[in-house]
């Protein structure tokens, strides 16, 4: 088991199906993948559908979680967030994908992700 951290630049140079291939092949090998930014909903759908389609005895699917620290209270912070979001779009946040055979649960809250291993 290992941890792979993929930069936004690396992910974005790949075509959508190559992106999913890369993530899925690492996860199927037992690695946890951390990606800078967010997958689109279509990509998440494809990732989940393809992960489910490859379920076998050793591979039981994936755990996915996305962390995007938000919920600022002050107006100025909200404004800053909106501008950053407009400029950076899917580069904001961190996505974690791992094999469900070794990850028991990813506890999500708006401020942190907790990856619990079996």
């Amino acid at each position: 088991m290992g941890l792979q951290v993929l930069s936004y630049n690396l992910i974005k140079t790949l075509r959508p199906h190559e992106r999913i291939n890369k993530i899925l092949s690492s996860v199927k090998n037992g690695d946890v993948v951390m990606i800078e930014g967010k997958l689109s909903y279509e990509e998440e759908n494809e990732l989940v559908s393809r992960a489910l389609a490859s379920i076998s005895g050793r591979f039981t699917g994936v755990e996915v979680a996305y962390l995007k620290s938000k919920f600022p209270k002050r107006f100025i912070d909200k404004l800053k967030d909106s501008i950053i979001e407009l400029l950076a779009k899917d580069r904001i946040g961190i996505t974690v994908v791992g094999p469900s055979k070794i990850i028991k649960e990813i506890k999500m809250n708006p401020q942190k992700l907790e990856v619990l291993f079996k």
């Binding site: 489910l52 996915v64 979680a65 055979k101």
Partner: protein, 212 residues
Amino acid sequence: MVKLFSKNFLKFFKIFKRKKKLSLGLYGPPNSGKSTLANLIVKDILGEGAEEMFSTSSIEHETREVQKVEKLELKKGGKTLDFALVDTPGITTKIDFEDFIKKGIKKKDAKDRAKEATKGVIDSIKWLDNVDAVLVVLDSTLNPYNQVNITLIGNLVAKKKKLIIVANKTDLKTSNIEKINLVFPDYTLVSISAKTGKGIEKLYEKIFEEFF
């Protein structure tokens, strides 16, 4: 300005609309009570004598195929909603046959169930394109802040589907509707108990308001 005008223009004509047809999907994670709710809606419309159309169980992935009941009619205030009810397998990102064995299912049956459930979830995701409106059924005793719920709702929004979040299992002591409201504040939320039927009239009201 044009957008505002066309919106009000459409709203004006909606007043005179008497009948609407749609395909209504029940989506959500496994064991959130989608099939129990589907049975309740069907019985409400077809009468108590109607047979249970959807199989329910406390073991996850009881529904492993997309199931559809056509030609259901809801009437309210002189309006008729003519709809097909689509019950779908619970959305998940993982299925392990060993979990079924732990629930007392024999190994071969557990493997078959896992295989069918896997196909069911993939079909469920594909079916998102075929429904017009969705009731997202969540178990209100569980933490709603997880990637499956977020992705499901995000997908529906991206596909421009109308949706209502149904906070189910309110008959249980640990039910926490406020938490669902906090996580998904931008959507219409109705709390119900599909088991006891409490809150179902409110849900019908909201279906007319949001989907008609």
